[in-house]
């Protein structure tokens, strides 16, 4: 069953109308095929209008749409021979972050990303993609493994944030995130990060430091969730839409701030209604970016990454 958000309802209505019509036999009075085609065109216009005029708050909802593909949905469509590697070698295997080696066309690459889960059972198993220290430490272990074998790293961000729990604090959530930020900054292989859903704060950044950062068209990246921001600055979660506007978390916002290297297009119905289409756009951009980065000598790569990180921020010097 497809899920439709409140503002997607006109799309749902149109879709069911088209389906009903398609099921009807040909009638003497109207040409069903023609009518279906006409409605499909109308639906495309409607979809285009809704997604292209979506408010920031709506984009934030789309970025965590229940039907939005997870990393493991994309993996078989983009990569071959994926071998998942588990565990941080110290405490546990955190299922909120998955990682492993895969073939990306002619290259072997390290794939690491959040996995929120689709079914209720999987969501619970994966803690809704909210990683604990062992998740970030597993990621770091795989980054280092990739470095040792001169393997580029592709990371995929999709989390509402790092897990805010007693256990996570006891095992050093802060330290685990910080360590990744520091070590990724000097990892001696190309690192490409892509936000494929929700880019939630430090828990997202912990696998998002690298040479290139892309965002899918309907993804978001923010320092805090609109709800969290509203709770603190407005003292009421119901101001989440206002907070989303203020935080400017969309791919377009990020591009205007000069913080991303490109927006990855999504199929007209959105990644949440067309997995294959989304995978094709994703693969194309990642392959081109990887091809470019593989030409750069490691010393240059690291120097450019260092400069990129050093220059982050906007302030006035007087």
């Amino acid at each position: 069953m497809a899920t439709y958000l409140e503002f997607e309802r006109p799309i749902a209505e149109m879709t069911s109308k088209i389906e009903e019509l398609s099921l009807m036999g040909d009638d003497a009075d109207i040409n069903i095929a023609e009518e279906v085609e006409r409605l499909n065109k109308k639906k495309d216009e409607l979809v285009h209008r809704i997604y292209n005029n979506a408010t920031r708050s709506e984009v934030a909802q789309l970025s965590r749409h229940p039907d939005r593909p997870n990393l493991l949905d994309y993996v078989p469509l983009i990569f071959d021979d994926f071998q998942e590697l588990h565990g941080d070698r110290a405490f546990a295997d955190d299922a909120a972050i998955v990682g492993g080696i895969a073939r990306f066309r002619e290259h072997s690459v390290m794939v690491v990303g959040h996995q929120k889960g689709k079914t209720t059972k999987e969501k619970i198993h994966r803690n809704f993609g909210m990683a604990k220290p062992e998740g970030y430490r597993k990621a770091l272990r795989l980054f280092r493994l990739a470095e040792r074998f001169d393997m580029p790293v592709l990371t995929f961000i999709d989390t509402s944030g790092a897990w805010p729990g007693i256990d996570a604090e006891e095992r050093g959530q802060s330290e685990a995130i910080a360590r990744n930020l520091m070590d990724l900054a000097v990892l001696k292989v190309p690192v490409i990060s892509t936000v494929i859903g929700e880019g939630g704060s430090g828990g997202a950044l912990a696998i998002g430091v690298g040479d290139r950062l892309f965002m899918q068209k309907l993804s978001t990246y923010a320092v805090i969730s609109p709800e969290g921001c509203a709770a603190i600055l407005w003292r009421d979660r119901k101001y989440a839409p206002q907070a989303a506007e203020a935080l400017k978390p969309t791919a377009v916002d990020m591009q205007e701030l000069g913080l991303i290297d490109g927006i990855i297009d999504e199929p007209k119905d959105g990644a949440h209604r067309d997995l294959e289409g989304a995978a094709n756009f994703l693969a194309e951009v990642l392959y081109n970016s990887l091809t470019e980065l593989l030409q750069i000598p490691v010393a240059t790569l690291l120097k450019e990454r260092e400069n990129r990180l050093r220059n982050l921020g906007e302030f006035t010097r007087k």
Binding site: A162, P164, G165, I166, A168, E169, E170, R171, G172, Q173, S174, E175, I177, A178, R179, L181, M182, A185, V186, S201, G202, L205, A206, G208, V209, Y221, A222, V223, I224, C229, A231, I232, L233, W234, R235, Q242, A243, A246, L247, K248, P249, D253, M254, L257, L259, R305, E306, L309, R310, L312, G313, E314, F315, T316, R317, K318
Partner: protein
């Protein structure tokens, strides 16, 4: 009320109510409820001589305790926050900046110093908690980077003293990116084999905790300081469990192997001098 707001508002309760004297000569300690003479408290570096309660201090006051007399200067005072996102919640960010400047001086939420700690020249960045809860925006990130680079230039240790509620939401994603920026520059201290020490003070949370605060070669904390990634209230709401006693306090972190030591403010100068000397001694120098 959020945990962050509560953190920001807490100094009042720590300082307690001012006594009957009109000039606030007497302060009631939030730790032991004893009435303390202000001058006496200052003499003990704003640590209650009776119960050891560490009262929050401004960067300027901490600098006066930390450095040798007349040995230090403030640096990088020419950086100012700007409202890149045109951010407005119930108040405009530009107005919040103005209010913070009035309340805590216009050095933003971090101040850089170069000075001597018992004779050891050190580049220091200190958070100013009174300035928007010590939140890390672009200016704070740049000051940390500059403080580290000053240590690289002078080939001296770098000391980071944190007191922060986390990232500065009013700078949106730019504030998050300061975590990546500061963590990246920390690599250069490591490469240069210069000591980087973090002193975590009350409170050190969120984006500051989950980045540069945890990247020092040695990490120490002030007694009873609240230190963590997520705020206690957020955690309580999420897990619906009673938080363990002393949760996220410096001593709790020490027990869990997350920090090297808890050091009383009055002993920090000696501790740092000895540590820096050890780390700079290089008994085993690589042969040329």
């Amino acid at each position: 009320m959020s945990w962050l707001t509560r953190l920001i508002e807490r100094p009042k309760t720590i300082l307690g109510k001012e006594g009957d004297t009109p000039d606030g000569l007497w302060i009631k300690c939030a730790g032991c409820s004893d009435t303390l003479y202000n001058k006496e408290l200052e003499r003990s570096e704003m640590v209650c001589p009776r119960c050891g309660q560490h009262v929050r201090v401004s960067a300027a006051q901490r600098a006066s305790f930390l450095f040798d007399v007349d040995s230090y200067d403030e640096c990088d005072t020419n950086l100012f926050s700007q409202d890149t996102l045109n951010f407005k919640d119930q108040m405009r960010y530009t107005d919040r900046i103005k209010a913070a400047n009035k309340k805590a001086g216009n050095g933003d939420a971090a101040r850089n110093y170069l000075g001597d700690i018992k004779g050891v020249t050190t580049s220091v960045t200190m958070f100013e908690f009174a300035y928007m809860g010590g939140s890390m925006g672009s200016v704070v990130g740049e000051k940390i980077a500059l403080g580290m680079e000053r240590a690289l230039e002078r080939r001296c240790p770098y000391l980071l003293i944190t007191a922060s509620g986390g990232a500065r939401m009013q700078e949106g994603i730019l504030s998050l990116m300061q975590m990546a920026k500061t963590s990246s520059v920390a690599n250069r201290l490591q490469e240069a084999k210069l000591p980087f020490v973090c002193l975590l003070t009350d409170p050190t949370m969120g984006g500051v905790s989950a980045s540069v605060a945890w990247l020092g070669d040695v990490i120490i904390a002030e007694p009873n300081a609240l230190i963590g990634f997520a705020g206690p209230r957020v955690i309580q709401e999420t897990v619906a469990e009673e938080l363990p006693a002393g949760f996220q306090r410096a001593e709790f972190l020490l027990q869990h192997g997350l920090i090297d030591e808890v050091v009383d403010r009055r002993e920090q100068r000696d501790y740092l001098k000895t540590l820096f000397e050890h780390l700079m001694a290089r008994a085993y120098r690589q042969p040329n």
